[in-house]
């Protein structure tokens, strides 16, 4: 996983609540055995007409948002399916950070495991960042994970919360499995104890 330290980039405004995983990447695009190549179908129904041409009013079809690395949205981002294809599609397009008032739990998990930083900020702050994003042009937001601050174009710094373990993994680009493998003796001990208590689980 690519480490996430600081990011200065274009933020795309997506002023919608309940952006579900079917919107992010529709089920018909899940018939892949790879993690890459999904970006071209990101937000497909909102982004493209039936004939495959772009819908000019959709934000990611406009400049400078084609280069967006940050997405600003409203409540319950990523609700619905557990498909990791949703963060894979965002990442493949180039999105490294999503800012919203809250996220669906599974999406939040999946995002962090792919080097995408989901940032929860109050609705009013998201509205202010949405206005920043709408300015377009050369406007950039800066995300500093180490210090847990978003810097607005005005220079105003907005602090955010992040889980300590997730922060450590993101900053260092660490994959969970390698870390959990270090606890293998504890897993062995648990299995031995549990096998005695509940042998039917190991039949």
């Amino acid at each position: 996983m690519r480490a996430f330290t600081t990011l200065t980039g274009v933020a795309a405004p997506l002023p919608m609540a309940n952006v579900d995983t079917d919107k992010i990447i529709a089920a018909r695009f899940l018939k892949t055995i790879a993690r890459t190549g999904l970006g071209k179908n990101l937000f497909h129904a909102m982004r493209f007409n039936d004939d495959g041409s772009e819908k000019p009013d959709f934000v990611l079809n406009q400049e400078p948002y084609r280069q967006a690395e940050i997405l600003i949205a409203y409540e319950n981002f990523g609700c619905g399916s557990s498909r990791e294809h949703a963060p894979w599609a965002l990442l493949d397009f180039g999105i490294r950070c999503v800012i919203a008032p809250d996220f669906a739990d599974i999406f939040h998990n999946n995002a962090t495991k792919n080097g995408i930083l989901p940032i929860r900020l109050p609705r009013a702050v998201c509205e202010a960042l949405m206005e920043d994003a709408r300015m377009g042009g050369n406007v950039r937001l800066t995300i500093d994970l180490e210090n847990q601050v978003v810097t607005r174009p005005s220079g105003e710094k907005i602090p955010f919360e992040v889980d300590a373990f997730r922060k450590h993994c993101l900053l260092n680009g660490l994959d969970d499995i390698g870390q959990t493998m270090q606890h293998a003796p504890a897993i062995d001990d648990y299995e031995t104890k549990r096998r005695a208590e509940a042998p039917w689980l190991f039949a």
Binding site: K23, K31, S82, P87, A164
Partner: protein, 471 residues
């Protein structure tokens, strides 16, 4: 020292903690891992690349369900090359890693969330995961069951654990007796209508109360299936004698002395009196009516007697924009009666409603009646065993005689990634779980409801109050 009263969730969680890390993240042991073709290929690739093996073969089972055809064509091979590659990839992976697998043409094949309980693979007190959000279904067994992404699928394959912070406890109590014509589907939709699609975020929901206790296991599975649609990490119903009677004798259920020990533990799992819930929601069963969704989020649900809302009445700008978009996408007019909406397709199936009880409910409405001429109606059993049981009861004949299609087991028209899809603009009454834009196929318009309501819509050709069929 007094023992702190614990919830059902707390008890199962505590029994599965391998280790608690410094910041409170827990390494949680997983008893059962269900694997399917869509969310596993990249996980097996990861194992292969790192030279890792599958840690617990007895705790893992694989099956195909999402992208397969549900007509006779499955017997002659999968036509769609991408679907075929995904299924063949799973078959190659289970062979390479020695994972137990139920092949497509095995009679036990079916939707992962139907076959788990059916085969006794999902048991009370277990932790159960699958790379699918509707894993919450298995919570009906009195288990802690939740959906995971592909990175976590790989993590579980390699370590038989997940890394998680404890969830908060939420209890949804439904008191009283459910009125005639209402089912577990109407309860679960009514709850989502009340709490919203983010109402359960960060929580595990325990469903309690007289109306929940009165549900059979299929009903409890329908209920817990849609806990994810309320944003919850999982839904659960405490195990009771109904649960234990359901499990008894299933192929993978414990036997003999193990059965005695297991049931003794299961009976100790219900939440203690005085256990703390971070959030409580109470509904009266008597207030629940047959429900149907009108919009493109499961929270946009109304009694079938309702009318399409007017976006002009929305309280804030985001909501107004959302409602306007929904009305437009769904091809509706504000104020229109829901019962005036003509349907093109009826889909009875999915991990929400494809069990034998659901097929019986549909057949009871279909019996001696005819599907409206303009309607295509599909009944897709949740597993080969459900299909076999339905056929033994003659339900296939009842449905076929009424003009329904009788299909092979699979996810089918729930999610538009196999040949069963809506075409743009088509309107469906569907017993599945999500009415998102494009969920059943690009441009498709989905109205979620119970199997009896869906069958009634197939007969009349429009959304219908099933209570008219009960008179």
């Amino acid at each position: 020292m007094a023992i702190q009263p614990r919830t059902l969730f707390d008890k199962i969680w505590d029994a599965h903690v391998v280790e608690t890390l410094e910041d409170g993240t827990v390494l949680l042991y997983i008893d059962r891992h269900l694997v399917h073709e869509v969310t596993s290929p990249q996980a097996f690739d990861g194992l292969r690349a790192a030279g890792r093996r599958v840690r617990s073969l007895h705790g893992t089972i694989a099956v195909v369900d999402h992208n397969i055809a549900t007509d006779a064509s499955r017997r002659t091979g999968i036509e769609d090359p991408e679907s075929r590659l995904q299924v063949e990839t799973l078959e190659r992976n289970v062979a390479e890693f020695n994972v137990p697998y139920i092949p497509l043409l095995d009679e036990r094949q079916g939707i992962v969330h139907v076959i788990g309980p059916e085969l006794g693979l999902s048991l009370p007190g277990m932790t159960i995961v699958c790379g699918d959000s509707h894993t919450s279904t298995h919570g009906a067994m009195g288990a802690l069951a939740f959906g995971i992404g592909t990175s976590e699928v790989e993590h579980v394959l390699a370590t038989q654990t997940v890394l998680q912070k404890p969830a908060k406890n939420m209890r949804v109590t439904v008191d009283g007796v459910l009125p005639a014509g209402c089912t577990a589907k109407d309860i679960t939709l009514a709850i989502i209508g009340k709490v919203g699609t983010a109402g359960g975020t960060g929580h595990v929901i325990e469903y309690a109360g007289e109306a929940i206790r009165a549900l059979d296991m299929a009903g409890r599975m329908t209920l817990c299936n849609m806990a994810i649609e309320a944003g919850a990490r999982a839904g659960m119903v405490a195990p009771d004698e109904v649960t234990i009677a359901y499990v008894d004798g299933r192929p993978h259920a414990p036997k003999g002395e193990a059965w005695e020990r297991a049931t003794a533990w299961w009976r100790s799992l219900p939440s203690d009196t005085g256990a703390h819930f971070d959030r409580e929601v109470v509904l009266r069963a008597e207030d629940i009516t047959p429900q149907v969704t009108w919009g493109t989020s499961p929270e946009d649900v109304l009694p079938i007697t309702g009318t399409v809302p007017d976006p002009a009445n929305a309280t804030d700008e985001t909501r107004r924009a959302q409602l306007t978009r929904m009305v437009e996408y769904m091809g509706l007019t504000p104020g229109q009666k829901l019962t005036d909406l003509k349907v093109d397709v009826v889909f009875i199936g999915s991990c929400t409603n494809s069990r034998i009880e659901d097929i019986r409910a549909a057949a009871a409405i279909a019996k001696g009646r005819q599907v409206a001429a303009h309607v295509r109606a599909l009944v897709v059993p949740g597993s080969g065993l459900v299909k076999k049981q339905a056929e033994a009861e003659g339900l296939d004949r009842v449905l076929l005689d009424a003009g329904f299609e009788w299909r092979e087991a699979g996810c089918s028209m729930c999610l538009g990634m196999n040949p069963d899809k809506l075409t743009p603009g088509q309107r469906s009454a569907s017993t599945s779980n999500r009415n998102f834009e494009g969920r059943q196929g690009p441009g498709g318009r989905t109205h979620l409801c119970s199997p009896a309501m869906a069958a009634a819509a197939a007969i009349t050709g429009h959304l219908t109050d099933v209570r008219e069929f009960l008179a």
